[in-house]
Symmetry: C2
Subunit: 204 residues, 2 copies
Amino acid sequence: MKRIGVLISGRGSNLQALIDAQRAGELGGGEIVIVVSNVETAPGIERARQAGIPAVFRDHRGRKREEYDAEIVSLLKARDVGVVCLAGFMRLLSPVFVSAFPNRILNVHPALLPAFAGLDAQQQAFAHGVKVSGATVHIVDENLDSGTIVAQEAVPVFDTDDVETLTQRILASEHRIYPKAVRILLSDRYRIEGRRFIIGDGAA
Amino acid sequence: MKRIGVLISGRGSNLQALIDAQRAGELGGGEIVIVVSNVETAPGIERARQAGIPAVFRDHRGRKREEYDAEIVSLLKARDVGVVCLAGFMRLLSPVFVSAFPNRILNVHPALLPAFAGLDAQQQAFAHGVKVSGATVHIVDENLDSGTIVAQEAVPVFDTDDVETLTQRILASEHRIYPKAVRILLSDRYRIEGRRFIIGDGAA
């Protein structure tokens, strides 16, 4: 089950980081076999195609969430996808979706969760005046940015930063930890105790 | 106004870090002139006396918060204290206290605020399964752990940690950033914009 589906809504820079990691042999044997976008004009679609990965657009507008999610699940299952990576996919997943891939859906968030969940996390952190922020890869559940944390990395916030420079620093961190988290998940050498994600014998 | 009062309730390990920094000339010219404990048996009282610093016990039990706070403010003002450092002082300050030292009261918290405010922050972080936690020095206002952040430092949370090993790692971080934050505050080379504490020309 090392076949990966990636869901995007935008430029797909984290998709690119996963593609690059796969090419470099640093995705733990994972293979990205399909990219799905809910936005027709998402530049990430073109990134996928340039990498030789099938990429499809499925419009969510005017459709019930459960119905839409069931269609995406079918698309992924038809490709034998075992792990789903959200990469800037701007929708909450319904229980239909989450239960189809239990503990096998990852998301990356541009803050050190549980701080600054939700939209515009970098702006939230900047406005709050934190001196440290970062990035989080977590398992996706039905709630917003609340699932088990797989990997985090801290980055400094400098007094000379603006939101854009902070966003870029966090993005670089996202690109480092997302492939790492996928590798850990694919290794299957971990256990989950309560909310703690604990890596087994040398799987990191 | 480089005379410092320190408020404690317990062992006073952060008090010791401030004493050590002062001795090493790393407290920005700050001088700890009084230590106040609201707990008679606090080991920090003895630490202070061993360092030649007057240390007094004032019991808060059975007294109105505002009345108690006014007495502590009087004690501090009588010593010409300009900056107040909370070091494990387990009480919320009333507006009476806060308004007597506007933006001149610091506290250290064993988490990366705004994550894990309140009691048992290390246990909260551990149970939440974060991979990064840390310490925060912030300006004290009337609300719990909510004031402007002056300094933060991240520490890793390892899979092999328990709450005690994590607590010790965070404590070492507290001891590093608390003297640094005092130094910055005493330098007066900073400005506060919204919630952001921004250090001026080379004051760090």
